[in-house]
Symmetry: D3
Subunit: 320 residues, 6 copies
């Protein structure tokens, strides 16, 4: 069956440092037609309020994803044998015009969705998830599993600007893209603007799981609750790399100490297996602040973990 | 009430990368008069026996402290609303003359103490804590909660030199600045000079909690014991950044693997809440060895955690 | 006379690594009132089309400017004795909204100009020079001496966007802020978009001196021509750090090999002495791409050189 | 007794940054004659399939080993008082010719073994362990405790090449250097080539303990099983630095997130105490990818931990 | 005519940080069929005797070549309008087996030559030029213009090994691939193995121009002589990045201070215009030792300069 | 004759990355007895007023000196065949006590001088040159050729402290170690403390050649004058690495842009050939601020150049 699908270059024949740097060393394809999962870059950080650089994320995650092999060692899943996956390139963006940028990204993801593929995107800053949700939740609001140090449900910045990487999920709830009672945020931590910063989100029904609660209860209990919250309905997963500790993911715009270890992060993502995902992303990898490619490697590995979960879903659905 | 106190610049109006780099983006003030807590730099590493660089610590901790927001997300404390806090600048030092350096630092801290403010200092190497204690414990010995990889209770180096960053707490006990039965050291680890290196300290009554004991018993039990040891009497807190693992705080002079995670460190510091603190410091941040500002970010966040604990104490005392 | 003016902290008393990081270790003042020269930061890179980061320029140039001493070793000028100079802080900016950013910067520079001080700014990307010129050339177009690898006279990017760091001088000429016959660009080099990329500028009368012509004719002849072109009339100087070779100034967004050495750059700037300057800037220092502070040191030194030239002008005018 | 043995330079007299960079600041000796433990470098990465650089490992581990002091703080062991240990330099290698390299390394280790010393080596990539085993297991197969992210029991690469750093333990089992039922691998993780990648090893009797099993069962249970597996018979220990998390050991050729913390790694190595070791190594430290010497510091500390365990064995055997 | 040829992505529409990282942002094509110039990577450093890493060169030069625009600012040449150029990917290599590596590379270049395209390669270490010459000079020996710090005409290393990056041009002369009287080496410098190290080459007729002679005579005179030496006959150009000063190209295996500036290097390469080139390469870019991408940027720009010279040759020949 | 002298390890047999890191890969010897030239480290930066780190200089210069080969390519000199040269290790220092440090260094150099060898030292900061001169000029004042960005003839710092790296040559003149009319300083530049900062030195007869004069007159004329000034009498050479441009030598405490290129520096040092040298040093290499070993490579190469000049002098004297 595997031969029907795109395969990565074989590293026992072509060394990992050789060849073009595509996601997972998969073929670069012109469109998502025929794909089950479309790996797409969104090189845009127009919403960044402090340290920009996530625009360079897709290129470096592609670069470091050459380290990924073809089988998940826990699931024993071979994603490229059970799902058709390829690199559809970077979506069009506009580094100068924020509103145009949002529109272009939405259009790019809509093309993927319309082609029948699941989008698995690499940002870009967290504002990129807003136009992705506009494309993915066009027909009905979806649930959200959100790994992050920050809730990103603030209202406005710098005057009345509604669109920054600190606001996407407030906008998404307001735009009815998300069902707030099926939104759960995990890993939230760090100093905040005011004691009631998270009250709006909580009032909508969003479940915020602070890092301290995660430390106390552990991944198994937390993810059981998360799965209860989102249930079987369509759900989007967004993974902000700053949910991981800055020692393991220094290349990001708003580091907060006390984050997930990568071991915890992998465990959490694997526990998404079996859900009904409509897409996912890894965002806020900012290579100019990275060290030795460490953040891009972490991002590429989380991408691989998400891809395996999604490939298993594709396979499961195909069998039905 | 908040308007009576100094406030940091508002990052939703002025971006975090803008403006002068003061501690917590607070005003730079000329003296500690009127302050409850004085944030002071001590740019001095005259006691460093191996890799110097902590002299650059205050500047970089100031720089990275721009990432701090105004509310503690666990305590929900807004420190700048309940205590008057500002940046009093760097104390005078002497990079060439060790004894003059010690005298200058003591004088600078005495000015803060005399103004009625609690000193919260950023070193500098760990020898800086000795003159701070001389100023803070002028009238009576104080207790000490000491987070560190090293006990820093050695006797002499390089001949009979009594003052290095490996000796401050021996000197402080000898000078009756510390009550050794109210001194507790947490996180001690790494190879030592001889099997009896810590015997002098233990003989004075110092409680040394090695990292292995911390790993076995956990933060809750450890900090309960720590609080028992120091009790309600005046206590100083000194946080050597090398207590944190070098992967999370590489920018320091004497790294020892196997350290606290930042998550553990934050938990430990929060458990100081309610004690009777007469001052605190964060030392041994050495920017020339740092990576991506990681150590300075950790130092700034620990400073923020200590500041919140101290602001809560100020508030508590004011209400009495 | 020196006592009437602001003085930097004395490094033979306070070490260079100590104290707050203001430009040249001068006092931070609240406004330009009473100043002859106002050192201002413009932390904004909203016009950057590739690698952002110049928003962090002012902070790092301030940091490294601590290395500057108080006397120019060639002119023997003591700028702080002949002109009143201080750090007026960073101008207000908006990292999310380009048009608001342009307006805020113009307002900030207008305040300096209205206070009677000469603005000496540190960007920020090169688009920041457009609002500076709007403030400086409010009454009549000025001349421009422009050190850069790029002409920055392109028309539009990413659709019809007129404002990027590749377009400021086209806009400035169109807005009649610059007299194009008194505009000279030095150091231009690197691959271009099309053979006629510079034709528009040349058609307006702009003199473009490519790096190859500089190499052939040398600084003395080149700067004699430059001085002829701008004459005695009001002239603005803009120094893009990417005019310097990327090995000496790697921390910039659009590096082009084959640039000026710093020795050449210092020589060129000193040859501005005696002109009629209405302001100057150093732009495109992007710390996230810098190495060992090298670019910020170069930027701070060029700032010092420009400041000395401007202080001598202030002194000359005062004596008349 | 200590005076009979080689001693490191005393850091309370000679600073750590001074003097030649030998392992543990011990004397450099010409041969292993008279030694109990021979510290040897193997600067060779001829088997590396992706990112080379481990050839530079010995030099940097030597450099950072200057941080080691003379007593183990948990065991209270003073290794240099109970065993004669010195730095025998780097073994001969050949960076251009793989087969010659293997032969040279085997010869170098054989000289150590023949001199009656235990080899404690610093690689080099993991293929270096194959010739070490050829020298150490010349008479009979030995057991192996193998800390690693990768099983390194693949068959061939790039055609039919049998020798890479992904194959040494397959070759060693085939060559009867290892008793596969006494081989245990700990920390294995990361994506693999195929679901049956580890089947060959398991079929031989190798016990593979994945990181997930380690996380679930903890170091005490795991190492109890490990000790059961190898028993009292001669056993070699090989420590691939990539078993440690890349945030703590970034300087390695094939990083895999989700690794051991250094605290866990130290705990694991200490639990080797009392076994019957015939040699040990630390491999895959690749300085060109390191950050702030972090990986070399970790490698040097693990080397110190192994050395203490081996010195205690030497002392134990001497007393019998 | 331009429309007939491959074009790079337009950076005024798609930002430079977006899209796949191919050479010059040109299309990645499967073979050299139909091309005038084939840009190819040779990710191999099997001949490196000291610091490996050039295997990563092609990927990083591709990455940084995104900075190149489409027109040469001195020639006013638009290479993509006058020649059909594309990225043919990386040639097959073998990181473990030197002789197989040499054979694979020769085969890959032969494919390009047989397709009628000029190979323009990015190494890889300098030994890669040997198999390139085997493919290019299959029928008759060619001339060589060789920019380098080292003559690379040594005989053997590490026993009798004939193939290292210090020997390719001795082998090429012995194999009659080069006409030694038409070989010229420019920029040679640095300490050597013995006073007669270069005597063999000189005895064959090779002209060695040391850096000191270059400094004394200047680029114009030197390149006039170079052109005389090679004449109109087929000539290969090899550019070792270590000919450039290590401050401008630190990312290389064997740095030698006192090198060409990039400004000089660009001048030298432009003076190749009009010769009869059969191919060219840029080698020894070793990203693990690079800083801020500086060496890869220099390598990409020299590649662009060579490509423009070769495109002009293609255009000239077509017109005949 | 060569066999009588110490020889470096042969890099065509032992790779450059292998073996202990001694200066030039020469034997480490216990004393200077029998040597013509003693290579010694002085790991001390007790006089540094801003950025410390030169204490780490000897170790890193040793490390990078592995790149040096055995023959000077211009002189064709084989230094190790005409002079007996070895690495005598690091002199004793005291990182905590300035006056003790000065005494220890003087004693160490006196041992070398008394053994009849010429000291060729690697600092350490520039204050280390003072005790070296005390040992070298014990009997009579010597001349000085001083390459530096700074004159280092200031009086006192931080109160009345007479000993910093900004004062050694004032002290040396006062102590009659130097004949000021035979002292020449080359490369002086950068902002200064006051217009008369250099007046004291000039009044003693010191010749200061600013960088601007060097640029104007060129190395040949400058060095002719230098040789005239020092004549045939005993002369010491001190090379501060900050005389080289910070882009080529970033790892130093007080960088000043506009410095010598390494090509110029090599040319200058070679023009010392034939003088009567009593010793030399390379100082102010500060590895914590270095990039990719660049400064240490430059320092090691300048050391090699000085060593060749001194070996030629040894050979010349022997023949007489």
């Amino acid at each position: 069956m595997g031969e029907k699908f795109h395969q990565p270059v074989d590293a026992a024949k072509v060394p990992r440092f050789a060849g073009h740097a595509t996601f997972m060393r998969l073929p670069a394809v012109a469109s998502a037609e025929g794909l089950d999962i479309a790996l797409a870059g969104i090189p845009w950080d127009g919403g960044t309020t402090n340290r920009a650089g996530a625009r360079h994320g897709p290129r470096e995650v592609r670069n470091q994803s050459s380290l990924m092999r073809s089988t998940h060692h826990v699931f024993k899943t071979e994603p490229f044998k059970i799902a058709n996956i390829a690199d559809v390139g970077d979506l069009s963006v506009n580094p100068i015009d924020l509103l145009d940028g949002l529109k272009l990204i939405e259009g790019g993801v809509a093309d993927i969705v319309n082609a029948g593929a699941l989008p698995l995107c690499v940002g870009g800053d967290h504002l990129t998830t807003l136009p992705v949700l506009r494309a993915v939740a066009r027909k009905a609001p979806v649930g959200l599993i959100h790994f992050d140090a920050h809730s990103d449900t603030n209202d406005t910045y710098f005057g009345d600007n509604p669109y920054t990487h600190g606001t996407p999920f407030r906008r998404a709830i307001e735009e009815n893209l998300l069902d707030p009672r099926r939104v759960v945020q995990i890993g939230i931590r760090g100093s905040i603007y005011s004691p009631d910063e998270h009250d709006w989100a909580k009032a909508q029904g969003v479940r915020i799981i602070y890092m301290e609660e995660f430390s106390a209860r552990g991944p198994e209990a937390i993810m059981a609750e998360v799965r209860d919250i989102v249930g079987d309905a369509p759900t989007y997963v967004t993974f902000d790399i700053d949910s991981i500790d800055p020692s393991m993911a220094p290349g990001t715009g708003t580091p907060e100490i006390g984050g997930f270890t990568t071991r915890e992060a992998q465990d959490l993502v694997r526990r998404l297996d079996g859900l009904n995902l409509v897409g996912a992303d890894v965002v806020e990898v900012a290579p100019p602040f990275d060290l030795a490619g460490m953040t891009a490697i972490a991002g590429a590995t989380i991408l691989f973990e998400l891809m395996c979960v999604m490939a298993r879903q594709v396979d499961r659905c195909r069998l039905r």
